[in-house]
Amino acid sequence: MSMATAIPQPAERENYLNKEYGVWSWLLTTDHKRIALLYLISITFFFFIGGFFALLIRLELLTPAGDLVQADTYNKLFTMHGMVMIFFFLIPSIPAVLGNFLVPLMIGAKDLAFPRINLLSWYLYIIGGVMMLHCMLTGGVDTGWTFYAPFSTSFTNTKIVEAGLAIFVAGFSSILTGLNFVVTIHRMRAPGMTWSRLPLFIWAHYATSIIQLLGTPVVAVTIVLVAAERALHLGIFDPKLGGDPLLFQHLFWFYSHPAVYIMILPSMGVVTEIIACFSRKRIFGYHFVAFSSIAIAVFGFLVWAHHMFVAGISVYSALVFSFLSYAVALPSAIKVFNWTATLYKGSIHYDAPMLYAFGFLGLFTIGGLTGLFLSALGINVHVTDTYFVVAHFHYIMVGGAVMGYLGGMHFWWPKISGRLYPEGWARLAALIVFIGFNLTFFPQFVLGYMGMPRRYYDYSHMPEFQVLNVLSTAGATVLGVGYLLPMVYFLWSMRYGKPASDNPWNAAGLEWKTASPPPTFNFDEEPVVTWEAYNYEELDAPHSEEVPVAR
């Protein structure tokens, strides 16, 4: 992979990348694959901005005293870290990049149902992103990404309305993407591509889209109410005017809890594809995995108040929400067991995407199991709003979602770019990310149980917390290297990587039956599907003599 010169290209087939050149052919494209790349560039940009904030946070916490930045600066750092990472990286990450690229390819369609709306989604995202950048550069916000009232509505003097509007606009990008996917999956499947032949990646995106469609409008309404309260003092959330600050929390978490599933479900879809391919097997319990995605989407809407067990809700409603939180944990557990069972009697390859999938399994399992602690009412009282929660949701949203995203990027990169990345570096990066992640976030579980509250800029009253914070900061630097590496070698591979064949992994799925990179309309002829998903038995069938089956 240390190739110094570009590989001489034979006359290339026409594909979506080389069909047209020039800025406008990209900025006015309606090709879902090009839009996916536009998203890829934009979310990578925001990922590194959010990551930069994270690095400053970790550096500040290296010492107990608040000595690197001012208290207000620190408060803005964690606020902007959260807002950028959640609304401008995690929520669009897999759906808008991999989903955009793959949903039409996987179901045998020429494009999404509404190509222009797809482009509009990207522009909305960019408008929201520019507003957010402007907001950050001109002062930022210090409420935490949760915007809790009445602090956000009546007390802080930072740029709440501008940040809110940025999220409001970006939210519509998310809604439109969801809408596009739902219609595409219902209406544009190739002949023979029945619901039970769909790749589980599609099921996961279908479930995600439903959440985006039904949940995002609620956060949009909430943001409008916050803005109205700030501007007009309506008294919706302000108790002095007869409002209720808890109403804000109910509205906010009604979206923001399901939003976690917007981030993790697509990642589960990616991991399902990878495990099937690199075990050379059909997925164990296809229907259970498919319906568990839908179950997560449905139950995910019924657990929001588990963020509010100490907020002042009644003990009886806490009881109901605790119970329902265990109900939503079950489909995730079922998925983990089915992935594990898929490995059984497989023929397992350890290529880079599979290493990311193993990493996902480990981190997501820890994230999920620590969720059981938080759903247990008696323990929640102690650990909520501490670093225990911080560690838990990073295990799910970074350990889980980002591992899946990176795994997916490696798995489909040959299809997206038509090039192979250096395998050795990719395996090394997977290992570095896994180690760095655990080093960063595992100590935070301990910190949380010891009682360190989140969003503390200065912990000089409790120097006993320092050792674990130093470990965590050390881990963050390792993690940072792990995240930079793939960007470097992906860029490198675009020029110097070996050309990829149409199906370098010998994977099942329609996306591998067309060229790498695919032509603009995806398939030269409309595919007709006559096989089940994950037909690895046929793909691996011996051409001449009989080969023994694994025992």
Partner: protein, 337 residues
């Protein structure tokens, strides 16, 4: 509370540790055992409904044990004993103000004796805060516009961290303090130094000064309800509902009298929103509670001590009402330095 929470925590560590270990060992074993070997193909398996049911039912049963146990601990955490000593807490950006029923006031500190149940009745002057004592494993958000309650019983003398756990602005991480748990004798000594008279006596003073007595008379002739014995009792409202006259109800009646008007009375009471400080509302509530004859049997003992407001401290309390009208100007009355 800590032993109950820790017991459940350890149980969860064991159970989830075993679950994680099971998944990791099986994944690693399969990954090694079924690694790709040239010439060996994977064996296709459709799935197994029996297995799916098994690995759904067993975790669900375990989840339900955790759920039930967690709920039991939570109900304990959320149900203060009836005879608990009451302490009022007012949170503001960025300090904790504490008022004992006996009249002692502290800032960012709370003195309590070992072995006594302490119930905190808390409200906020501005944004949402959260009163968190990690060593006692308790936390409760403190909201503007209403009371929330938490309780604990300290079992070992010492100084424990008090944190604000709900992000509340610039100095959120500076909104920390200490819970000082003392032996009863030491605590009594502390309590007797520099008291300003019982909170309920202060409340009675305010009750008179604001003219509440002219309508809320102790006979049946008043234009407002007689407040003797009202605390803890069900109250029939004008709109037909019945509510319990708890701290939050009394507070709401002072600040928003029209919201839950008592049946048979005219809507003539003005709002005191903005006219009384949080500390004055606390004192008024403490006073109304003190004139309630029929308290739960266990609570009578605690409250009887200051249910007779005609004690000498009353005179001193008079001077104190003015100080309370400016809550921001209060000096740190902490007795520990």
């Amino acid at each position: 509370m800590a032993p109950h929470v820790d017991a459940l925590y350890i149980f969860l560590l064991i159970v989830t540790g075993m679950m994680a270990l099971l998944v990791f060992v099986v994944v690693i074993f399969f990954a090694a055992r079924f690694r790709h070997r040239p010439g060996v193909r994977a064996e296709q398996i459709e799935g197994s409904t029996a297995l799916e049911i098994t690995w759904s039912a067993i975790p669900f049963a375990i989840f339900m044990v955790i759920f039930a146990w967690g709920a039991v601990v939570y109900f304990k955490e959320r149900t203060p004993p009836a005879d608990a000593t009451e302490v009022y807490v007012v949170a503001k950006q960025w300090m904790w103000k504490v008022e004992h029923a006996e009249g002692q006031r502290e800032i960012n500190e709370l003195h309590v004796p070992v072995g006594r149940d302490v119930k905190l009745i808390m409200t906020s002057q501005d944004v949402i805060h959260s009163f968190y004592i990690p060593a006692f494993r308790i936390k409760q958000d403190v909201l503007p516009g209403r009371y929330t309650v938490e309780w604990f019983r300290a079992t070992k003398p010492g100084v424990y961290h008090l944190f604000c756990a709900e992000y509340c602005g610039t100095q959120h991480s500076g909104m920390v303090g200490s819970i000082i748990v003392q032996e009863p004798a030491q605590y009594e000594a502390w309590m007797n130094g520099g008291s300003t008279g019982p909170l309920s006596a202060t409340g009675e003073k305010i009750f008179a000064e604001l003219g509440c007595v002219t309508c809320h008379r102790t006979d049946t002739q008043g234009r407002g309800p007689n407040l003797q014995g009202v605390f803890g009792k069900p109250v029939r409202l004008e709109d037909g509902r019945t509510v319990t006259a708890d701290e939050n109800y009394l507070r709401e009646c002072i600040l928003d009298p029209g919201a839950k008007r008592v049946k048979g009375f005219q809507p003539i009471m003005p709002t005191f929103q903005g006219l009384v400080s949080e500390e004055q509302v606390n004192a008024l509530v403490a006073y109304i509670k003190s004139i309630s004859a029929a308290k739960p049997a266990a609570g009578a003992k605690t409250d009887a001590s200051f249910a007779t407001p005609r004690d000498p401290n009353q005179i001193q309390a008079q001077a104190d009402v003015k100080a309370q009208a400016q809550p921001n100007a209060q000096p740190n009355r902490s007795q520990v330095q």
